[in-house]
């Protein structure tokens, strides 16, 4: 048994799997290098990501697992909840050691937990695709911020790339401090210099286009008038949009009053 450390990348984790088999030393803990506390028990093994090893492990997994299951592994990595490294390791080991395909064997706890993690990721991804709200800046950039429960930004890019092929947009994760920028050709991952939340504060309001408030207000008006008061059902409403998502939604913000001329 040993403590394995890696560089925090998905490839790094695959390298850990390779090393563990090579040494026949199974990890009791896997941790990112900069977070790890050396363990007093067993070996401490620092793994360096190695492309060759990554590709051998990945090819081996491809033989055993469907594309859907491989995706679920990547999603569990992005899920980033405590213990995800060991969970992934257990899953991959089970897959490698079994003759049959294990991905539907929900009676095995790691299979079930990976599936649950993937489900949580799917849910959060879906919610972000639904609740992202763009604001148009004066220079025609559509700008949105998010702070999702899990690291889903890499998973939602494709959706927005297909949908908004003819407008420049940015989606910025304020918690993980990186964003995706689409420039009409391709998406690049960016770290913004200035704090984006400062840019959206009222002092800098003039960065948004003149129409922005108009459409925000029209949307609020629409939201209020599509409601049927006779059918009010706050419980159902909250189940669909838990309060922690309200911050994204302009229809859940105080009503804008535009000057009417």
């Amino acid at each position: 048994m040993g403590l394995y450390t890696y560089d925090g990348t998905f490839e790094g984790l695959l390298t850990v799997v390779f090393e563990a088999y090579e040494r026949k030393t199974w990890p009791h803990t896997i941790e990112q290098e900069h977070l790890a506390q050396p363990s007093m028990f067993g070996q401490n093994i620092a793994v360096t990501t190695d492309e060759e090893k990554v590709s051998r492990v990945w090819k081996g997994l491809q033989k055993k697992l469907s594309v859907g299951a491989l995706k679920a592994l990547y999603h569990t990595y992005l899920w980033e909840q405590p213990g995800f490294e060991m969970l992934l390791f257990d899953y991959m080991k089970l897959a490698i050691d079994s003759k049959e395909c294990i991905e539907d064997n929900y009676a095995a706890s790691c299979v079930l937990r990976v599936q649950q993690a993937a489900k949580q990721m799917f849910r959060e991804k879906h919610r972000m695709e639904a609740f992202v709200r763009f604001q148009k800046t004066a220079d025609d950039l559509y700008y949105a911020t998010i702070s999702p429960d899990f690291n889903v930004l890499p998973l939602i890019i494709q959706h927005f790339e297909k949908r908004y092929a003819d407008q420049r947009w940015v989606i910025y994760d304020t918690q993980r401090k990186y964003g995706a920028f689409y420039d009409l050709n391709a998406v690049t991952l960016v770290n913004l210099e200035s704090q984006p939340d400062k840019r959206t504060s009222s002092a800098a309001n003039n960065i948004f286009s003149e129409e922005e408030d108009k459409y925000k207000q029209l949307w609020q008006v629409y939201f209020d008038h599509v409601n049927i008061p006779e059918r009010k059902n706050p419980k159902l409403h909250l189940r669909h949009i838990p309060k922690r998502y309200w911050k994204y939604l302009s229809e859940k913000q105080p009503r804008l009053q535009l000057e009417t001329k």
């Binding site: 006779e230 059918r231 001329k261």
Partner: protein
């Protein structure tokens, strides 16, 4: 200027909201022209109203001026409400600007009839055409066809829209005569039939020529109002069943009548029949996804759905001889019929049992909810519960839990609900 468009939006969203269909799924329009939007696959709910309904489309009327006088409709001629009309360009601008900000999946456009059917329909088509051709818009467009509009216009509408709907509203010819005297069944079914023919034709052409134009790729739907007229659930579900079969509708929507109108042709109710509407949706679901035949759900002897339990449980209680179901050996179809087990759980069970015989703990870990199911299943011939309760007892236990002292009180409340519905 600003305030005028706000005012119009208020009036024309208000007037459109009673049409409950909101789905934006089933679209096949890909963004291939590097234009705006993509309506492939599943629709997204971008928000939810305070009554818990999905907000996916900008759902508005082009105008709420109307020459007809349908009793159940707020827009009817004799009703004293503010009237307004959007221009074609205003609808286009609203749709595009909402879409670009990720507020919506697309547009659901309907209208009161001003002047005549074709005059109105022509404008609806113009909105859709402009969106597709000038704005390169690939988002979802649902157009409601105006009763009495010409075949050519409906055909053209199908070229730009993802979905077309013809609302039947009232579940029988007789109610239609009473409540919407200007309309009749044949006039409604005619366009429905012609849309169906177009859909088939377009599909055949598509197989021959890849470049053949698509026709309403997300199909057609309709809406029935529940509780504004006297039809029972059996009549309603029979009608839907026929519509699914004969007109290959994608969806039938049910709208519990909201007492908005004081028209004296209508029943006096104080609250919309929400529970009944919900039960009808559940029954519709059973017909479409669970392999149930409409006769198994309601028939002449039992023309009403039970309001206090869902129709699947109702069926199980009437058919106790089919249970218990052995989870490890039963067909998928039968597992699907166990109360409390949905499509996802049934699929999981069938794939997991190939690896190992399942017990109740396995089921629980897999996320199968046993609250109801436990009374109807065995795992490796073991039961979790005595299975010899009679149906009444079973129903009580499921509704009120195992020690049901308060049950008499609650039964009274449920009876009250029943009256409302």
């Amino acid at each position: 200027m600003e305030s005028r468009i706000t005012e119009k939006l208020k009036i024309l969203a208000d007037a459109a909201k009673y049409d409950v269909s909101c789905s934006s799924s089933g679209g096949k329009r890909k963004n291939e022209n590097k234009g705006l939007g993509n309506a492939e696959g599943m629709g997204i709910c971008h928000s939810y109203t305070e009554d818990g309904r999905c907000v996916s489309l900008l759902k508005i009327l082009l105008t709420n001026h109307c020459i007809f006088d349908c009793a159940y409709c707020v827009t009817r001629k004799s009703n004293d409400v503010k009237r307004a009309a959007f221009t074609v360009q205003e609808v286009v601008d609203l749709t595009v600007n909402f879409y670009r900000r990720n507020y919506i999946e697309g547009l659901f456009l309907s209208s009161g009839i001003f002047k005549n059917a074709d005059y109105t329909m022509e404008r609806l088509v113009r909105v859709a055409k402009k969106l597709r051709q000038e704005e390169k818009f690939n988002g979802y467009i649902h157009l409601k066809t105006i009763p009495g509009a010409s075949d050519e216009l409906i055909k053209e509408a199908g070229l730009y829209a993802d979905r077309l709907s013809v609302n039947i509203e009232l579940p029988s010819e007789m109610s239609l005569q009473q409540l919407a005297p200007e309309k009749n069944y044949s006039e409604i079914l005619l366009p429905m039939g012609s849309i169906k023919d177009q859909l088939i034709l377009a599909k055949e052409e598509k197989q021959l020529f890849k470049s053949a134009p698509a026709f309403a790729p997300a199909g057609q739907s309709t809406q029935l109002i529940v509780g504004a007229s006297a039809e029972n659930d059996h009549q309603i579900l029979q009608l839907s069943n026929q519509l699914y079969k004969d007109y290959s509708l994608k969806r039938v929507y049910y709208s519990g009548y909201v007492p908005i109108s004081s028209d004296n042709r209508l029943p006096i109710i104080t609250e919309p029949p929400i529970i009944r509407e919900n039960r009808i949706y559940q029954a519709d679901w059973l017909m479409r996804f669970y392999g149930f035949n409409v006769q198994e759900i309601v028939d002449e002897q039992n023309p009403h759905l039970d309001l206090d339990i869902d129709p699947k449980l109702g069926w199980a209680l009437r058919n106790r001889h089919m249970f218990p179901v052995e989870i490890n050996t039963a067909d998928y179809e039968m597992i699907l019929r166990v109360p409390g087990i949905g499509v996802k759980s049934a699929k999981k069970i069938v794939s997991a049992r190939r690896f190992t015989p399942l017990n109740f703990d396995n089921l629980r870990q897999m996320g199968v909810v046993l609250k109801r199911a436990k009374y109807f299943i065995t795992c490796q011939t073991k039961t979790m519960y005595r299975q010899d309760f009679d149906s009444q007892t079973l129903k009580r236990r499921i509704l009120f839990g195992d020690g049901s002292v308060r049950s008499s009180l609650l039964t009274q409340q449920l009876d009250l609900f029943k009256q409302v519905g």
